[in-house]
Symmetry: C2
Subunit: 340 residues, 2 copies
């Protein structure tokens, strides 16, 4: 994680007090927002404390956006969709933040150019903010601080937050726990699209978007949409009171793009009326707390100096049958808890 921390930022950071971050974020300053995200992503103890203070200060300003998750295999048209969709929203006067995957980089520092070319139109918009995450070293583009980044973007006044993932491993399950609404993007293929889908994906999303519905491909796209809709009718929806459906659109012609935004508005309206929207956010926050506790606990244990010294010795004793596992665990717990 240390190398994520570019020299340029480190220099600047030491001269920027927290109040400046807060002020800049309140003003919606995108440069300050970018630096604030880098600050909370940092593992340096000083930055951690500063980041905590900043997060505490911005909590009251956060929570007012719509958080949208976007998943889809590489080639499904995620970046062109986000580019077009985001640009249309900006033109409507919305402020759009994208927490995106940067396939061109393994470092946060050097990836801005990559995303400028990936989302060319959106990156020129005044009201857009694009934060690239390297796809490697993160969970398919989901950074361990993505939740905090969402809050910072919200505090900076962004109305729509798009979180992109390539669905590697469990990344789309993780994204589901941090967004209000979740879309899967897909394209039509040789008719075996549905078979190729990851198990359980359809039960995880609130909408399936078939992209590239233009030219010779349009008819195929509509057929695929109908096939999905057929199946979706028999599945339990990801969100209570919302029927997951399939949609088509074209990021080239723009057809169907604004309709997706209307679907989002509809979703927000229905789930806010039923209370599901707020209940989900409450639950997400609580789950996040619980997961963080368990992570921190393990980190604290395995990085404890006495444990680091004694664990290999005890492991040897257990492997060679000199100590039962449960006795070893008791012994390690004693060492851990007395040490502190």
């Amino acid at each position: 994680m240390a190398q994520e921390y570019s020299g340029r930022f480190r220099r600047e950071n030491s001269t920027v007090p927290i109040s400046n971050y807060l002020e800049g974020i309140k003003k919606g300053d995108r440069t300050v927002l970018a630096k604030a995200i880098t600050l909370i992503e940092s593992n340096h103890p000083d930055h951690f404390r500063a980041g905590q203070q900043l997060l505490k200060d911005i909590i009251p300003l956060s929570g007012k956006s719509v958080r949208l998750g976007i998943t889809g295999v590489p080639g499904a048209g995620k970046s062109t969709f986000i580019d077009r969709f985001g640009t249309e929203l900006c033109k409507m006067g919305k402020k759009v933040a994208v927490l995106a995957i940067d396939p061109s980089s393994t470092m946060t520092g050097g990836s801005i150019l990559g995303d400028k070319t990936r989302m060319e139109s959106l990156s020129r918009e005044e009201n857009a903010f694009i934060r690239p995450s390297p796809s490697s070293g993160t969970l398919g583009g989901v950074h361990r601080k993505t939740r905090e980044s969402i809050m910072l973007c919200e505090a900076a006044g962004f109305d729509v937050i798009l979180v992109e993932t390539i669905g590697v491993g469990q990344s789309e399950v993780v994204v589901r726990t941090m967004v209000d609404m979740f879309f899967m993007l897909t394209i039509t293929g040789a008719g075996d699209d549905l078979q190729g889908m990851k198990k359980g994906m359809m039960e995880l999303v609130d909408g399936i978007i078939i992209t590239k519905a233009d030219g010779a491909n349009k008819e195929n796209a509509i057929r695929t949409r109908n096939e999905y809709s057929q199946i979706l009718r028999f599945l339990r929806p990801a969100t209570e009171g919302w029927q997951t459906k399939a949609y088509t659109c074209s990021s080239i012609t723009g057809e169907g793009i604004i309709d997706i935004w209307h679907v989002v508005q509809q979703f927000v309206k229905i789930t806010k009326q039923s209370g599901i929207f707020f209940e989900r956010r409450r639950k997400q926050t609580n789950d996040w707390l619980m997961t963080s506790i368990v992570e921190k606990l393990q980190q604290s244990f395995f990085q404890n100096e006495v444990i680091k010294e004694m664990l290999p010795v005890i492991q040897q004793d257990v492997e060679h049958g000199r100590l039962p596992v449960s006795a070893a665990v008791e012994q390690l717990m004693k060492l851990y808890l007395n040490e502190k």
Copy 2:
């Protein structure tokens, strides 16, 4: 877990010193073995200490069996297979222990009769020991102390340990981490057996046994076996250097039963020669230690008195946006580590 603890045992236990357990186990006394398993399954602090001492004492006596896992959906013929297979092994002079599922009971105490009737022939054998686990409240028949039970059975001189699971949730993945060789039992159906199989099962087992290969069903069973064998050739085997194959047998006629034992012997010979056998056991022990540490750590945290008192308060603060998650985690960790 408290109700697992029958009154009868509690009375007797208080009068039995650890040395008597050890002696009884060394003699292969099945009544003492049953009581010893109940002792290590107990959550009572006194029993925990006694159980630890006993486990430490028996470690040098354990490890000398072949540990076989048996999985299969209800109706696959697991109990009739184990009954016949175990009886044949006993007749060869082997000592056979079965850690079995008891579908008739939700309590360990009252389930012996249930298994007497399920494995009628085996339960009459002098050299057999059947330990039923309730299927509910455990992981498909796998008790959280099954590993320790295996060790106790080995110390009591049992050569073959059969661990049965119904493959609910992740139970067959758990069983795989505690046995040397793993069989899946299945029957022939309407030709769609292969589709109905749990994803990844074939990559988890060292052999697939098609049971009920008798009478009018024999031909079907052979066809199914060939279908499985075809597929298995293209899969990565669960055990390096061992080709997973499909076999047929009949627990009624006994045909193919002894052949399964020859397969087991072959497996043990090959994996002991390559060292895989010992390497797997070493790795299993280490994984067990690591899993136990993480479990114990969480238990210690969430059962801590200060944490139990403060967690709901902090949860409220986090949910209402008065405290960032990471700050909450820091605060809870401080409370936890200062408390002890």
